[in-house]
Symmetry: C2
Subunit: 323 residues, 2 copies
C-alpha cells in the first residue's frame, strides 16, 4: 500500500489549474495544506468562476484563457469536463513551458490520450491522471482539502514517458493524500466503466424512470425514498456535463459492462418471475462480501447508513419545535 | 405534515415483538424512549437472538415460540421476514387476546394481507404496516431509538377496520418518531417497488456483475469503488432472507417497474452508442430536481457524500501513523 506522505517542500513553483470546479478547487486546498505549491494560478471558461476562485484564494491569479494561465507553469492540470481537454490542449500547446508536466483529472483515459497527446509539444511531459474521488457537488465552492485522502489516483503514462516524471507526479498526488496506481488507459477505462460509469448511468436511469411513472406520483417517490431510492439520487445529482462527456468518451467499455449488467439483471428478473428463491438468496448473500472488502480497504465508512445523521434532521427538528 | 408527538403515557400495557432484528430492536428502543410501552416481550426463531434481546433489555421476557409471546399482549408486531408472517399468524391465531391489535413491518403489503388476514380471529384488529426506515445492518444489536425519526410509516388498513384502531396505531408510530400515511396494500406495493425494491435489486445486481468479471479483478473493484460503486454496495449488504421474501411476494409490481427501468436504460444505452450527447445531458440534468426534493422533504442529508467522514478514515489513519 502506498504511504501518504506529508511534506512542506515546494514541489512545483507554479501550478496552473485549467478549470476550477470541485476537483480543481480541492487540488488547490490540498496543495495549500501540504505546502507543495509555490504559486497556484488558473483559468475557467466562465468569468464568474475565475472571480470566485480568486476571492476564495484558490488561485492567486485568474485568467480568462487557458493559454495565458499555463505560461511559465511547471505543472498544468486540466480539470475540465473530458470533452474540453482536446480543444484546450490545442489552445495551450504553444504556451506550455519546456520541461513542464501536463496532466488531467478526467474520468476516462484512452480518449484523453487520443485528444490531448497530439497537441503536446516536444519537451513537455504528458501524464494522464484520474483521482477516484468526488462528491455530488460542483463548482469552486464545493472543494475541500480532504477530498483525496485515502482515495486512489490512477496515472496512465505512455511507455516512453520519463520514469522520473511519473515519480514526481506520484509524489504530488501522495502529498495531496492519495494513493497512486499505474495502469494502461484501456484498463483504466474498463475498471472505471464498472466501478463508476455504469453505476452513475443506472442511478441516473432509475431516477428518470421514477420521475416518469403514471401510477406513482413524484411526491410519493420523494416521501418514501428512504427505502433505498435516495442512495441512488446522490450520484445522480452529479454534474450533467461531466457525465455526458464520460459516456461519449468511454462508449465501448460502458456498453460492454452494461451488456453484462443487463444480462445478469434479466437472470434475476427471471428468478423473480418463476419464484426461484434459492437463486435470489444466493445472489444477495454474495454481495455482502464485496461490501466488507470495501470497508476493510478503507474505501467506505463502516457506519450504518453511510453515517447519515439519525437525529436532528431538518424536517423532524422543525416538527419538534411546533409540537 | 404529521407532527411528531412525544408522550410518556403508556399506550399499550404489553407489546409483543415477533422477531427481534434491526426493526424489532429499534421499535423496542423507540418505545422506551417515548415511554409508551408497559412491558415489551418477544420471541425469535433463533434461541441466541432471544437471549441477546433479553441481555440487551430489548424485551423483559423472551419466548421460543410466537404463540407464547403474544399471550395477553395488547399490541403484536410481526417483525420477521415477509415469508414467515403467514405461518406465524396461523401459529398465534388461538393465542391472540380479544381486542388486541396485530400489525407487521413487512416491506410488501398485499401478500401480507393474503397470508395473514385469514388467520386473524374475530375481535382482533389487523392493520398491516410498513415503516420506511432501515440500515444495511441486521440483528438485535443493530437497532437504535432514532431509526424512525422523520421517516414515513405506511399503514394499509382494510375498509372495514375500526377507525379508532387505525388512529391508535398511527399515534403509536408517531410516538416512535414517524410520520404516518394511509394507502391501499396494492398502491403501497407499487410505490415501494420503485422506491425500494427495484433499487435493491439493481444494487444487488451490479455488485454481482462486478464480482464476476474476467477482465477486472475483485480487488480492483474494491480499490476503486469510491467512483460511485460503493454507494450501491450499502443496500446490497442488506439481509438476504428479507429481500428474497420481498421479491417473491411483490412479483407483479417489481416486474412492472423493472420493465420500465430496462426500457429507459435501453434508451440511454442507445444514446451512448449513437453519441446522442443532448439526450444524455437532458436526462442527467433532470435527476438533480428529484434529489433536491428529497433533501427538502427531510428524507436525506444535504451534506455532500451523505456526510461520509473525509478525514481520519481507517485506511489513511493507519498510513499516517506509519509515515
Amino acid at each position: 500500500m502506498t504511504k501518504v506522505k506529508r511534506t512542506s517542500k515546494v514541489m512545483f513553483d507554479r501550478i496552473a489549474l485549467i478549470g476550477i470546479g470541485l476537483i480543481g478547487s480541492s487540488i488547490s486546498h490540498a496543495c495549500r495544506r501540504a505546502g507543495i505549491a509555490g504559486e497556484i494560478v488558473g483559468s475557467a471558461r466562465t468569468p464568474a468562476t475565475v472571480e470566485t476562485a480568486v476571492k476564495l484564494d484558490l488561485i492567486s491569479e485568474g485568467y480568462v484563457t487557458a493559454a495565458e494561465a499555463v505560461e511559465d507553469a511547471d505543472l498544468v492540470i486540466l480539470c475540465t469536463p473530458v470533452g474540453l481537454c482536446g480543444p484546450i490542449a490545442k489552445e495551450i500547446s504553444r504556451n506550455l513551458k519546456p520541461g513542464a508536466i501536463l496532466t488531467d483529472v478526467g474520468s476516462v483515459k484512452a480518449a484523453i490520450v487520443r485528444d490531448v497527446a497530439p497537441h503536446v509539444p516536444e519537451g513537455v511531459h504528458f501524464v494522464p491522471g484520474h483521482p477516484i474521488a468526488g462528491t455530488e457537488q460542483s463548482g469552486p465552492e464545493a472543494g475541500f482539502a480532504e477530498l483525496f485522502d485515502g482515495r486512489w489516483c490512477i496515472l496512465t503514462p505512455e511507455p516512453h514517458t520519463d520514469g522520473k516524471v511519473v515519480e514526481k507526479l506520484t509524489a504530488f498526488w501522495e502529498a495531496l493524500g492519495s494513493k497512486v496506481e499505474i495502469m494502461t488507459p484501456e484498463h483504466h477505462d474498463l475498471v472505471l466503466a464498472i466501478t463508476s460509469h455504469v453505476p452513475h448511468l443506472i442511478a441516473y436511469n432509475i431516477v428518470n424512470t421514477a420521475a416518469h411513472l403514471e401510477r406513482v406520483a413524484d411526491r410519493e417517490v420523494i416521501k418514501f425514498s428512504a427505502g433505498g431510492f435516495r442512495d441512488f439520487t446522490r450520484i445522480a445529482a452529479s454534474d450533467p456535463t461531466m457525465w455526458r462527456d464520460v459516456f461519449l468518451n468511454n462508449k465501448e467499455a460502458v456498453l460492454d459492462m452494461l451488456g453484462r449488467f443487463t444480462e445478469d439483471l434479466t437472470a434475476l428478473q427471471r428468478a423473480i418471475r418463476f419464484g426461484d428463491g434459492d437463486m435470489l438468496f444466493r445472489t444477495f448473500s454474495e454481495a455482502r462480501t464485496i461490501r466488507r472488502g470495501i470497508i476493510q480497504a478503507g474505501q467506505d465508512t463502516a457506519a450504518p447508513d453511510f453515517g447519515r445523521p439519525h437525529t436532528s434532521e431538518p424536517g423532524l427538528a422543525a416538527d419538534k419545535k411546533k409540537s
